[in-house]
C-alpha cells in the first residue's frame, strides 16, 4: 500500500511538473540536454535483447543531445560484483543497472539518487514522463525501495509458459496446462516419451536456481521465503508442498536438469526436445526466430500455470537509476537518458527492436498481440505477480548463495526436502540476525 501511494505521489509530482513547465515553454529533450552536451555516461549492459534494442536506439539519443553513452556489456553473473566494486571505489559508473533483487542493497548503501530529485526539476523532467503509465508491480519491484523510487523499469520480464503447440496437439491437447497439477498429472506423463520431455526447469547453481527454480515453486503453492516476522517460512506446509512438487516434477524433465541454465533450457525447447518451459519473456525472440529455433512455427505462449495459491509467476527485471557517485552534469545527463529510453514515446520502438517495455500504454493496441504473441500472457502475469517473489533487501546476495547450494542439493537428492529447507532457514536467519532485523536495528522491509 505504501509503495502504491508513493507511485501515486510520483505521478502527481510528474503531473505538477507538466503544468509548471507547460506555462513557461514546451519542454524538449534537445533543450533540456543543451547544458550537458559533451557529457559522457558510463553504464553496464547485459547481452540480452532489451540491451541490444537500447544500443540500436543510442545514436538517436546521442544525436539529439550531444550526450555520449558508453556501455560495457558484461555477463549477468558479473554485473552485481562489477557495480558493487565500482560504487565502493567511487568509480566511473554514472548509471546503475539494478536487478530487482539488488535494489535494497544499492538503495541502503546510498548508491542511488531518488527519482524525485529529477522529477521535481522542471528543466529535466519530461512533461510526458507519466510515472503512472509504468505497470505498478514492476515500478515497485524493480525501481523502488522502502517507499522511495530510484529506478525506472528498463529490461522487464515475467515468467511465461512457452509451449510447443505441435507437440501438445500430437499428444491430444488443444490448450496448454492451466494448473501445475495438470502439468504433473496430465501433460507430464503424456509428453514424456521417445526421448522427449514434457518440461524443463532451469536449475543451475546460480541465481537461476534460487530465482527460476526454487522460488517458482514456493509462491503458487502458498509458500514464501520468510513469514511476517522475517523468520524462515520454508518449513511451512505450503512451502514444503511446493518444493516437494518440484522434486516430483523432475521425472518429466531431462536428466541433469541441475546443470541447465537459461541457455540450455531455451535450447532444449528450441530443438524440440522439451514440450514446455517456464522462462522469462525476454527469450521470446530467441524461440520464435527460425535462425535459433527449430520449432519457431510451433511456439505458443501462455501465463505460467496456477498452483493452489494462484498464479504468482516468476518476476524479474532491471531498472536504470542515476548513481550518486556521478557529478552533477552526469547525473542530469544520466536522468535524461533513463527517462528517454524508458519513455512512452520510445516504448514502441524499443518493443520493435526486441525489448520489453514496462509501459502499460505500449501494449494498449490489441493488434500488437498478433505480432508479439507473448504480450497477453505478459500483461496478465504482471497483474498477478508479487514484488517480493525474491526478497529484495541488502542481504539477498548472501541468502541467494545459501538457496543455490541447498536447493541444488535437494534436487540431487543429497539432502531431503525437509533437511534442505531447515538448513536454508537456519542459515538465512543467521544472515538476517547479523544484519539486525531481529533486534529492531533494521525495519522488516522486503
Amino acid at each position: 500500500m505504501k509503495l502504491k501511494m508513493h507511485v501515486s505521489a510520483l505521478a502527481l509530482a510528474s503531473a505538477a511538473t507538466v503544468g509548471a513547465a507547460g506555462t513557461v515553454q514546451a519542454w524538449t529533450l534537445e533543450e533540456a540536454a543543451k547544458p550537458y552536451a559533451g557529457t559522457e555516461l558510463e553504464v553496464l549492459f547485459l547481452d540480452r535483447p532489451g540491451y541490444n534494442a537500447a544500443i540500436k536506439m543510442l545514436p538517436e539519443f546521442e544525436a539529439a543531445t550531444g550526450i555520449k553513452v558508453n556501455y560495457t556489456t558484461v555477463p549477468y553473473e558479473n554485473a552485481l560484483g562489477e557495480q558493487v566494486r565500482d560504487f565502493v571505489a567511487g568509480g566511473d559508473l554514472d548509471i546503475a543497472l539494478i536487478d530487482l533483487v539488488w535494489i535494497g542493497n544499492f538503495a541502503e548503501n546510498g548508491w542511488l539518487v531518488p527519482s524525485e530529485t529529477f522529477i521535481n526539476d522542471a528543466a529535466l523532467a519530461d512533461p510526458d514522463l507519466d510515472m503512472a503509465d509504468f505497470f505498478p508491480l514492476i515500478l515497485d519491484a524493480f525501481g523502488s525501495w522502502n517507499g522511495v523510487n530510484y529506478g525506472l523499469p528498463f529490461d522487464n520480464y515475467s515468467g511465461l509458459l512457452f509451449y510447443n503447440k505441435c507437440m501438445l496437439e500430437a499428444a491430444g491437447f488443444t490448450a496448454p496446462p492451466a494448473t501445475w497439477d495438470d502439468v504433473m498429472n496430465t501433460y507430464g506423463p503424456a509428453l514424456t516419451k521417445d526421448g522427449k520431455f514434457a518440461y524443463a526447469l532451469q536449475s543451475k547453481r546460480n541465481e537461476t536456481q534460487s530465482a527460476d527454480s526454487f522460488a517458482r515453486f514456493l509462491w503458487p503453492f502458498g509458500g514464501s521465503f520468510l513469514n511476517a516476522e522475517f523468520k524462515s517460512n520454508l518449513m511451512s506446509a505450503e512451502s514444503q508442498a511446493g518444493l516437494k512438487f518440484r522434486q516430483d516434477l523432475m521425472k518429466f524433465m531431462p536428466e541433469g536438469i541441475v546443470a541447465y541454465d537459461h541457455a540450455e533450457t531455451v535450447n532444449a525447447f528450441a530443438q524440440g526436445d522439451v514440450a514446455m518451459i517456464t522462462e522469462w519473456s525476454a527469450f521470446y525472440s530467441t524461440v520464435v526466430s527460425p535462425e535459433t529455433s527449430k520449432v519457431a512455427d510451433c511456439v505458443a505462449i501462455a501465463p505460467e500455470p496456477t498452483g493452489p495459491a494462484g498464479r504468482k509467476p516468476a518476476l524479474g527485471g532491471f531498472s536504470l537509476a542515476v548513481a550518486t557517485q556521478a557529478d552533477d552534469a552526469e547525473k542530469a545527463a544520466g536522468w535524461l537518458f533513463i527517462q528517454w529510453v524508458t519513455s512512452k514515446a520510445k516504448s514502441g520502438q524499443y518493443l520493435e527492436m526486441g525489448g520489453v517495455p514496462g509501459r502499460q500504454s505500449a501494449y494498449a493496441d490489441p493488434a500488437l498481440a498478433e505480432t508479439y504473441k507473448f504480450i497477453p500472457a505478459l500483461v496478465e502475469s504482471w497483474k498477478d505477480g508479487v514484488p517480493e517473489f525474491r526478497p529484495r533487501f541488502a542481504e539477498w546476495p548472501a541468502i541467494t548463495e545459501i538457496v543455490q547450494e541447498w536447493g541444488t542439493k535437494m534436487m540431487l537428492g543429497e539432502v531431503s526436502i525437509e533437511e534442505g529447507s531447515k538448513m536454508i532457514g537456519e542459515k538465512m536467519e543467521a544472515v538476517l540476525a547479523e544484519a539486525g532485523y531481529y533486534d529492531g536495528k533494521k525495519p522488516l522491509a522486503q
Partner: protein
C-alpha cells in the same frame, strides 16, 4: 683478485626488483592480512569493524571450507600421480634417439594445452561434454555407448574436471621431466644400458635420481596450481552440481565476489597461502635430501 662491488651498485641492481615485489606482492598480502582481521563486507561498509581472529575461527570451524579442501586434495591426489605417470611415459619416449622431426612436432603440440586459457578450457568442456549436443557423447554414440550426463551428475562432473586437468597439465609435466632427463650424463646412461637390458632398472637407478629436482618442482607448482584452480571449474560447472566441484579457490571467489565478505575471503586465502608454503617446504625437505 676479489672485486669489491659498491653497495650503491648492489642496491641499484636489486632495488627495482625488490620494490616491484614489495609493491605487487608484499603490500597486497599485508593488506589482505589486515582485512582478514576485520568484518569487511563491500555491501555493508558501515558495519566494518576489527574482529581479531574471528574470521579465522569461522573458516577453521566451517565444514564447507573443509569439504572444499577435501575436494581439492582429492583432485590433487588423483590427477597429479596420473599426470606424472603419463608425463614420464611421454618424456621417456621423447628421450629415445631417432625420429627427430616427429619428436620436435610432438614437443610443440605439447605446449598447446598449456597455452590455452583456463577459462576457455572450461567453456570448451562445458560445450563438448553437453549430454545432448556435446561432441564427446556424439563420439561415444558412434561406438554404441549411451550418452553420459557429465555435467549434471556430481560424480561425473568431478571426474570430468579431473580428466580435463590431466589433459591440460600432463604436457607440462612431460616437458619438465624431458628437461630433467636431458641432465642425465649420456655416458652414465649408456654404461647403465650396457649393464642391464631392463629399462625399469635404468630408470629407477640412473634416471630417476636426476629427475628428483624436476619432480619437486612439479609437485610444488602443481600443488599451488591445484589450490588456486578456479577458472576451469568455474566456467565448466560453476562449482556444481550442488557442491561437487566447489574447490577451495571457487569457494573463496564465491565468498569474496558474490557474498562480498572480503574479510572472510581474505582469511580463507591466508590459510590457503600458509598451507601452500607448508607443503612446498615439506616437499623440499622430504625429496631434496636425496639430492643433497
Amino acid at each position: 683478485m676479489t672485486l669489491r662491488v659498491p653497495r650503491r651498485t648492489i642496491a641499484a641492481f636489486l632495488g627495482p626488483a625488490v620494490a616491484a615485489l614489495a609493491l605487487v606482492g608484499i603490500a597486497p598480502l599485508l593488506y589482505a592480512v589486515w582485512k582478514s582481521l576485520h568484518y569487511f563486507n563491500l555491501t555493508k561498509l558501515a558495519q566494518q569493524r576489527f574482529v581479531g581472529l574471528d574470521n579465522y575461527a569461522s573458516v577453521l570451524t566451517d565444514p564447507v571450507f573443509w569439504q572444499a579442501m577435501g575436494r581439492t586434495a582429492l583432485l590433487f591426489a588423483i590427477s597429479v600421480p596420473v599426470q606424472i605417470a603419463l608425463g614420464l611415459t611421454i618424456a621417456l619416449v621423447l628421450h629415445r634417439p631417432g625420429l627427430t622431426f616427429w619428436k620436435t612436432l610432438t614437443r610443440l603440440s605439447l605446449v598447446l594445452p598449456m597455452a590455452t586459457t583456463y577459462a576457455v578450457v572450461g567453456l570448451l568442456a562445458q560445450v563438448m561434454l553437453n549430454e545432448k549436443y556435446g561432441v564427446i557423447n556424439q563420439m561415444l554414440g558412434w561406438i554404441g555407448v549411451d550418452a553420459i550426463n557429465f555435467i549434471g551428475d556430481p560424480t561425473n562432473a568431478f571426474i570430468a574436471v579431473i580428466l580435463w586437468d590431466i589433459w591440460q597439465w600432463t604436457p607440462f609435466v612431460a616437458l619438465v621431466l624431458l628437461a630433467g632427463l636431458s641432465t642425465v650424463p649420456p655416458e652414465i646412461e649408456e654404461a647403465a644400458k650396457l649393464e642391464t637390458r631392463s629399462d625399469w632398472t635404468v630408470l629407477r637407478h640412473v634416471q630417476l635420481p636426476f629427475l628428483v629436482p624436476s619432480l619437486v618442482a612439479i609437485l610444488i607448482l602443481r600443488t599451488a596450481d591445484t589450490l588456486k584452480l578456479f577458472d576451469m571449474p568455474f566456467t565448466m560447472t560453476r562449482g556444481g552440481p550442488g557442491s561437487a566441484t566447489e574447490f577451495i579457490a571457487v569457494l573463496i571467489e564465491r565468498v569474496g565476489n558474490r557474498q562480498f565478505d572480503i574479510g572472510l575471503a581474505a582469511a580463507q586465502s591466508i590459510i590457503m597461502l600458509a598451507l601452500t608454503i607448508f607443503l612446498a617446504r615439506l616437499y623440499i625437505k622430504v625429496f631434496y635430501k636425496e639430492v643433497r
